[in-house]
């Protein structure tokens, strides 16, 4: 199952857990499953049914352009990082 790294500012909701093994074939499913274990997580990561605009999801080292729809595989590593743009 995918491993999700928990941003430090979110660990207050995950009882200090720094990473979680979470079932899910997409980023959306992973967030939903995290929400069921740690209520409030989804609200912090998402703005309605979209990933929060200030957050990017990085899957296996690459920014997931499909965001919540980004596909995952069994050994995926998922990070929520600060969204940024360039000049």
């Amino acid at each position: 199952m995918p491993v999700v790294w928990i941003p430090s500012l979110l660990r207050e909701l995950t009882k200090g857990e720094r990473s979680l093994i979470v079932e899910g074939e997409t980023v959306r499913e992973v967030i939903e499953n995290m929400e069921s274990r740690y209520p409030g997580v989804k609200d912090r990561l998402c703005n309605g049914e979209q990933l929060h605009p200030s957050i990017s999801v990085v899957v296996d080292g690459h920014t997931g352009m499909l965001k919540l729809r980004q596909r995952l595989h069994e050994s995926s590593e998922v990070h929520f990082v600060i969204a940024m743009s360039g000049g």
Binding site: W5, P7, S8, L9, R44, S54, T63, G86
Partner: protein, 758 residues
């Protein structure tokens, strides 16, 4: 001098890529025929002028435009009342995001001005002089408020507040009370406390950097024609025409289908021309002036006072290393000025600051802070230069304490494929260590520096690079040339670097491609020229187009030879079948007899943009009497993945260094205590000129990006990241003072030397 060092695992035999053809836009640009936004002349065109705030922070109590409207020749006056009341919501615009209400208020202030130069009202008149005269007659009543001009003071609880509705956001959790700290971010891995306990040497310093401007030569300009049928055409200087279309549509609440944006040639942007300032205003003026076209062009003072500079900042850095020089822990706090509205690039700075190093224990906090200065915009690796100045200076001090060569220290701690970033993700194939090896083996580094008051500095830098969305369309002409349309504004020569990737795929010359930058109605959606993405992503779209054209031309050849497509070979622009052959150009001349036109288009959104690393070496001589820093020699080493057009890559490296040198030694926004900008001209805002710089040598390292068909990595941004730190380290080597403030102007160097003397 440019040296290219391929580190390619597989030998390439490109016939176009890696060469230096004539640039397609060269003749037009050197003969003055290229058309820029200010060159637009339309029948019946009006000229716009803007009223701007003389105060840094004030409530607007009233605006009286009646006198201005009565001036003969004035056709329209607009204020914020003419803008739709957009919601305070975040809109996603391609790569970035924007709060629509904040952007609307930045375009024309509604009830509060938040910086000196904030736009308040605009006039359209039959000539610019009448427009300016009318602007001067607009009466605004203000309630002046205390300005907030310093990032650290802005963070204090007793500071004046810019926005009563802004609460500190901490990954979705909002603070309880109004604050100038718009957001707090954090990256944390490992155990920092234990890491510092394991350190043999710890260095902890603080750094200050000033707000600086992108300094593009061409000021912002925009012309709009609002037609009676509701269709709008905008000509402007922008890094992204589709971004302008989206922003104008959102701000004016108009469907994007009603707006056509024609990007003109651009005289520099460096991140400062992603956002919009004038475009909605000229649209409104055109509509209100009886559907006449209206043009506005900013003066240099307006550009400096009211368009996106990059953040000034306050940064604390603490780093520890063991006896062998291995980094054991790092900690940083970055507070970046966002200007008048939330949204600095502190997040990027947090990502850049320790990116070149393999670190197990790290804590990085970042703060996005509101101050009464213009809303900051991207500037070439935005947020990165400030951060690297702090980290790379501390590393130099660690090296001194450990008696280690600065490149050896970086080789020991530098990241490679499989190492983890401080914000979590793991690097794929990168070329940082290769830049260090190239720097170490360079003629520059191997040549001892002699003479008094001279010193050598080394610093490294990182930039993420970005992929984004790009489209390209092409048609084969009967003379064997190809007309290529892309939506990528050409700032650094990307017409040619994109065309070369199309040409390579078809085995024809770069000169056989006729590349053009198309408007928003003529080509598929394409993000702006930012994020070092254009040669990477739009080049990839061109590569996909080349594959499609190749397949279609193979079918035509099969038709002529009355055989199967799979029996024909295509080798370097020649179709081969048995003992028969036909060149691409010859086949193009026979399209009519084989079915008519051949066209292709492609849209891509690549994800594997491939980060860029750079290592710079600089020698300086410091005059201890005046504090003037003379650069004696500069070498920039950078991993370009695959340099499509090496001369352009070299130009990007040199341009980035030149801007970094300006940021390091001279440039800064100077405000008086009331928040009025006092150096809003090139005379007083000191950018480097040719006499300030030596020839900047470049070494292009090529570690191909596995995420691109030709191995491309973006090259435009990372070269501005190392210069201030490299120069600070060189100054220390020359005269023994550690500079912690940008710019390291002569006065500041002298002040530090005087402190040293006691």
């Amino acid at each position: 001098m440019t040296t290219t060092l391929p580190v390619d695992e597989k030998k390439d035999d490109y016939s176009v890529i890696g060469k230096n053809p004539h640039r397609h836009d060269g003749t037009d640009k050197v003969t003055g025929r290229a058309q820029y936004g200010a060159d637009i002349r339309l029948p019946g065109m009006m000229y716009g002028a803007m009223l701007r705030s003389p105060h840094a922070h004030a409530h607007i109590l009233s605006i009286d435009t009646s006198d201005a409207e009565s001036v003969p020749g004035v056709r329209a006056v607009v204020t914020a009342k003419d803008l739709p009341d957009v919601e305070s919501k975040i809109a996603e615009l391609g790569e970035g995001t924007i709060n629509l209400r904040h952007q609307s208020n930045n375009i024309l202030a509604k009830d509060k001005v938040l910086y000196f130069g904030h736009a308040i009202a605009a006039v359209a008149a039959v000539n610019p002089h009448i427009a300016e005269e009318a602007v001067a007659l607009i009466k605004v009543e203000y309630e002046v408020l205390p300005p907030v001009l310093n990032v650290r003071k802005a963070m204090q609880a007793d500071s004046a507040i810019l926005h009563e509705d802004v609460r500190t956001d901490e990954l979705g959790k909002k603070g309880d009370s109004p604050s100038n700290i718009a957001a707090h971010f954090q990256n944390q891995i490992g155990d920092v406390e234990k890491g510092f306990q394991d350190a043999h040497v710890i260095v902890e310093r603080e750094f200050f950097t000033s707000m600086v401007h992108q300094g593009y030569i061409e000021p912002q300009n925009a012309t709009a024609q609002y037609s009676p049928d509701g269709q709008i055409t905008i000509w402007c200087s922008t890094q992204g025409s589709f971004g302008v279309r989206e922003q104008v549509a959102k701000i004016l609440d108009i469907p994007i289908s009603k707006i056509r944006v024609i990007p003109m040639e651009i005289g520099g942007g460096f991140g400062g021309k992603n956002g919009i300032y004038l475009e909605p205003v000229v649209v409104l003026l055109s509509c209100k002036s009886g559907y006449r076209p209206v043009k506005m062009t900013m003066s240099r003072s307006e550009v400096l006072a009211a368009t996106g500079p990059t953040s000034g900042s306050y940064i604390e850095v603490k780093m520890g290393a063991d006896r062998n020089g291995r980094i054991t822990a790092v900690q940083a706090m970055l507070a970046y000025e966002a200007g008048a509205y939330p949204g600095s690039f502190v997040g990027a700075g947090m990502g850049v600051i320790f990116a070149p190093y393999r670190i197990e224990n790290a804590l990085v906090d970042g703060y996005d802070v509101l101050v009464n200065k213009p809303h900051t915009a991207a500037y070439r690796a935005p947020g990165g230069t400030n951060a690297a100045f702090a980290c790379e200076t501390v590393i130099d001090e660690l090296c001194e304490k450990l008696n280690m060569d600065p490149i050896e220290f970086r080789l020991l701690n530098g990241v490679k494929e499989g190492d983890r970033r401080v914000d979590g993700p793991v690097y794929n194939r990168i070329g940082y260590l290769e830049t260090l090896e190239a720097a170490k083996n360079s003629q520059h580094y191997r040549t001892p520096l002699e003479g008094s008051n001279r010193g050598r500095g080394v610093a490294s830098g990182f930039w993420f690079n970005y992929g984004g969305k790009s489209s390209a369309s092409a048609s084969v002409n009967s003379d064997g040339t190809i007309s290529l349309l892309t939506g990528s504004v050409d700032i650094g020569g990307t017409r040619t670097s994109i065309a070369m990737q199309l040409a390579e795929g078809l085995g024809i010359s770069a000169e056989s491609i006729r590349p053009a930058v198309a408007d928003t109605d003529s080509v598929g959606y394409t993000e702006g020229t930012y994020g070092s993405r254009t040669t990477f992503a739009t080049g990839w779209a061109a590569y996909e187009v080349s594959n499609q054209l190749k397949e279609k031309m193979l079918e035509r050849a099969a038709m002529i030879w009355e055989t199967e497509v799979n029996k024909i070979q295509f080798v370097k622009g020649v179709f081969l079948y048995g003992d028969k052959q036909i060149t691409f150009a010859q086949l193009a001349s026979r399209l009519d007899e084989t079915g008519g036109p051949v066209v292709a288009s492609a849209a891509v959104r690549p994800e594997h943009s491939g980060p860029a690393f750079a290592t710079h070496i600089v020698d300086v001589e410091v005059d201890p009497e005046t504090g003037k820093v003379q650069i004696l020699r500069y070498t920039a080493v950078q991993d370009a993945g695959k340099a499509i057009f090496p001369n352009y890559v070299e130009s990007q490296l040199q341009g980035g260094v030149a801007q970094g040198v300006g940021w390091a030694l001279n440039e800064e926004y100077l405000y008086d205590d009331q928040g009025r900008l006092v150096n809003s001209s090139w005379l007083d805002y000191r950018m480097p000129v040719a006499l300030d710089l030596p020839m900047i040598d470049t070494i292009i390292v090529e570690v191909p990006n596995p995420g691109h068909p030709y191995g491309v990595r973006g090259v435009g941004e990372v070269p501005i990241v190392p210069p201030p730190a490299a120069l600070a380290n060189a100054i220390y080597g020359a005269v023994g003072v550690r500079m912690n403030t940008l710019p390291m102007s002569p006065a500041r160097v002298v002040a530090e030397l005087n402190k040293q003397k006691g």
